[in-house]
Amino acid sequence: MTAIFALIAAAGTYATALMFGTIGEILTEKSGNLNLGVEGMMYMGGIFGLVTANRYEALVGETGSVGFIAILFAILGSFAAGCIAGLIFAFITVTLRANQNVTGLAMTTFGTGVAKFVGEHMRNKLGGYVSVSNHLKESFHQQIFPDFLKRIPFVGKIVFGQPHFFYLGILVAILLHLFFTKTKKGLYLRAVGESPATADAAGINMTRYRYLATMIGGGISAIGGMVYTMTTAGCVWIEGSLSGVGWLSVALVIFCTWRPLNGIWGSMLFGSLMIMYLWIIIPFFPQELYKILPYVVTIVVLIIASMKNNKEKQPPANLGLNYFREER
């Protein structure tokens, strides 16, 4: 039992990256755009977050650098990178009406390419490796709650023992949830993803909604990549370490049935499954196979939702389809 709590507590760091990746993609998909390029966008977020923090430090010097500002720069850098990727995707699919699946896969190629290129380029330029100083590293790992809270039995470490990005992620998830359920713009966005023809007839500018949702969604996903690099990967650019995180986020979106709040516990669950092999050993069950569990449960969720034809758990009705008014 204790092992399970310890496992969940330890999963928080990994889960945070997933959470951002997932929440961003939920926003994108709710608008009807299926951007399969999350992997590429998270890669871009990972490198650009690290590079902005690194550049900031180079600019002000190691002693003058402030952890908070470095974090802010990392967030902005990764968010901007994701936004640009989202913009490219939106331009090609919404304006030029290309197939979304194919464009998303091209985005994965492009994004991972850009990230690896920048990473290698910077490494060559800086000689050795791209990183930040130790005290900045610490501020990226910092925990914000006092120690006595973490000592609450069982849940203490899970709830209070996480890096600050974790709480930021939860905040974003809650805000997105409120946006979808409580605001007019959120309602309109969902209408665009469900039935663009209806939204169009009601005078909603679906092009703008899809662009914005895809850009901001891409930005949020990219922050996830940055969080991964700066926490799990220890502020160093290791080519390939981010591999698969983006795809896991896409799976998680389905698992969460497109709800941001489910993304919080969903990412904890997926995060736990991914590191479970280190913690819990079930006899005769190979450890590596834990890692495919998230994908298996996602498929099960997908199948059950389609078998029951549960309307609330379906993908946005127009997911992956482009809209052209005169084709009505």
Binding site: K182, T183, K184, L187, Y188, R190, A191, E194, S195, A197, T198, A199, A201, A202, G203, I204, K311, E312, Q314, A317
Partner: protein, 506 residues
């Protein structure tokens, strides 16, 4: 006139070479229910779409409260107080009624306030909807209610309803009419597009009649009768000089008894339909659009699931086989030859992106053993159809989608009659075709009939049905309201049967 909300003057609308509306004058008054009456394709919906901003007229003027207006979009229509409830609803399934209602409005989102206002509107006119209900949980009539409330919520003074009763049960229709009367009392202007005479007589104050895109007249409902309206709607019988050769000693070929089918929503599309189709005979099927014609032909050909009843095919040796429960392939395998010209030519009968040859192969692709198909036979058939029916196309490989409508239909009919099937089903075989092509198709059907086929002809133009068909089966609301002799029936008689369920006077 103070009372006049909208006035249309000399409206004209064309789609390419087709004139949809011409010379239409219409006055829509407040505190009145106006019925727009006409057959399928008489231009009712096109006309109203010009009021709701979907189309723009090519000629003529629209006045709202005496001011000349141009309506460019649904948004413009709303600004002029016009709201239209289309046949296809624009609703988001996973939203609640209230969420759908406020979609696209500029006001702040305050669901509580929306719910109260929706309730107010409902109470005022006697609706019953729960604003918190999700659309996917709603029946068709509830969805319609949401559409109506949506329009009222936007403050529309002029409501246009496009065949609202087509999807409703009689009880729901009564409820809707009660609501419409309440709106009339509230001094709203209401336009009801319909072709059901009973409804016209029951609910309207005035009736405007359109025929073939032209305006015929506006009459006060109290001063008219169903008979007179039918006359105006269908017009004088026109002589088309169609051949109707006589076939000696026809025999029963297809015996349908008690056929009942329901659609996915559980609505009865055919109700206890019984008839016999004979060799050497064209059996016409008349009825308002959506009375079950499509379902009838599709269930005979094995494409539509049958709930109860039987469809028996009579072999030449008088033995019969049951077709219900068989797939099209099985029907073919037991040796029942059947040709079917469906209504949706490119969506069902043909493959638009393929040429004539490949489309001919749709019927024969399974023939022969082995993995490869035989393209020789369809190629020959395509050549024959091409020459015999004068199909205009550069080659038999030219995608049929790029051909004109008439040529597309020739390809389809040509293929279906190629094997001289004992049963030939056709749906709207001449819809959208020019006169020459239409006559060519009639001749082909007559050839089949004289060759001993039992031909079913679902049509919309009564004049054609009356001159071409030996007998005419009239469907109304999924039921047979009568089977009349094509040689003796009058247009009025058929028109009346088309609008009376079960053949009784409504």
């Amino acid at each position: 006139m103070q009372n006049c909300a909208i006035e249309l003057k000399n409206i004209r609308k064309t789609f390419g070479p087709v004139v949809a509306n011409d010379g239409i004058n219409l006055q829509i008054n407040r505190g009145e229910i106006l019925c727009l009456l006409g057959e399928n394709g008489s231009g009712k919906t096109t006309l109203m779409n010009m009021l709701s901003g979907i189309y723009q007229p090519d000629g003529g003027e629209i006045y709202a409260d005496g001011r000349k207006v141009t309506i460019r979009s649904p948004h413009d229509a709303f600004k002029n107080g016009i709201g239209m409830i289309h046949q296809h609803y624009h609703l988001v399934d996973v939203f609640t009624a209230a969420q759908n209602i406020i979609l696209g409005l500029d006001e702040a989102m305050d669901i509580g306030r929306v719910n109260t206002r929706v309730k107010e509107i409902c109470d005022r006119y006697g609706f019953g909807i729960d604003p918190k209900m999700k659309v996917y949980d709603m029946s068709v009539s509830q969805k319609q209610t949401v559409e109506i409330v949506k329009v009222l919520y936007r403050g529309s003074e002029i409501l246009i309803l496009d065949e609202p009763t087509a999807v409703l049960t009689p009880q729901e229709t009564d409820k809707l009419f009660a609501v419409l009367r309440n709106m009339r009392r509230d001094n709203k202007a209401i336009v009801l597009i319909t072709h059901k005479l009973a409804e016209v007589m029951a609910v309207s104050d005035k009736v405007a009649i359109l025929r073939k895109g032209r305006y015929i007249a506006t009459v006060n409902t109290k001063e008219t009768s169903p008979g007179e309206l039918t006359d105006m709607m269908v017009g004088r019988a026109v002589t088309l000089n169609l051949d109707r050769p006589k076939y000696d000693n026809p025999e029963d070929k297809l015996v349908v008894e008690g056929l009942t089918v329901v659609d996915r929503e559980g609505i009865k599309k055919l109700n206890n339909v019984s008839f016999t189709a004979r060799t050497g005979e064209i059996l016409g099927v008349a009825g308002i659009a959506g009375s079950g014609q499509k379902e009838l032909l599709e269930s005979i050909s094995g494409l539509y699931p049958v709930k109860s009843g039987s469809i028996k095919f009579v072999n030449t040796d008088k033995t019969t086989v049951e077709l219900v429960g068989k797939t099209p392939t099985q029907i073919k395998e037991i040796g029942v030859g059947m040709g079917f010209v469906p209504e949706d030519r490119l969506g069902m009968g043909l493959v638009g992106s393929m040429g004539m040859t490949d489309n001919m192969m749709l019927r024969s692709w399974r023939e022969g053993r082995g993995l490869f198909f035989n393209r020789k036979k369809p190629q020959d058939l395509a050549d024959r159809v091409w020459k015999k029916l004068d199909v205009v196309t550069p080659s038999t490989e030219f995608p049929v989608r790029r051909m004109s409508g008439g040529n597309i239909q020739k390809v389809l009919v040509g293929r279906e009659i190629a094997s001289h099937p004992p049963v030939l089903l056709t749906a709207y075989a001449v819809r959208g075709l020019d006169i020459n092509t239409s006559y060519a198709i009639y001749n082909l059907l007559n050839d089949q009939k004289m060759g001993g086929s039992a031909v079913m002809y679902v049509g919309e133009e009564l004049d054609v049905l009356m001159e071409l068909c030996d007998r005419i089966l009239v469907l109304c609301d999924g039921q047979v309201s009568g089977i009349v002799d094509g040689r003796t029936a009058t247009k009025e008689e058929i028109g009346l049967l088309m609008t009376t369920v079960g053949g009784k006077e409504a």
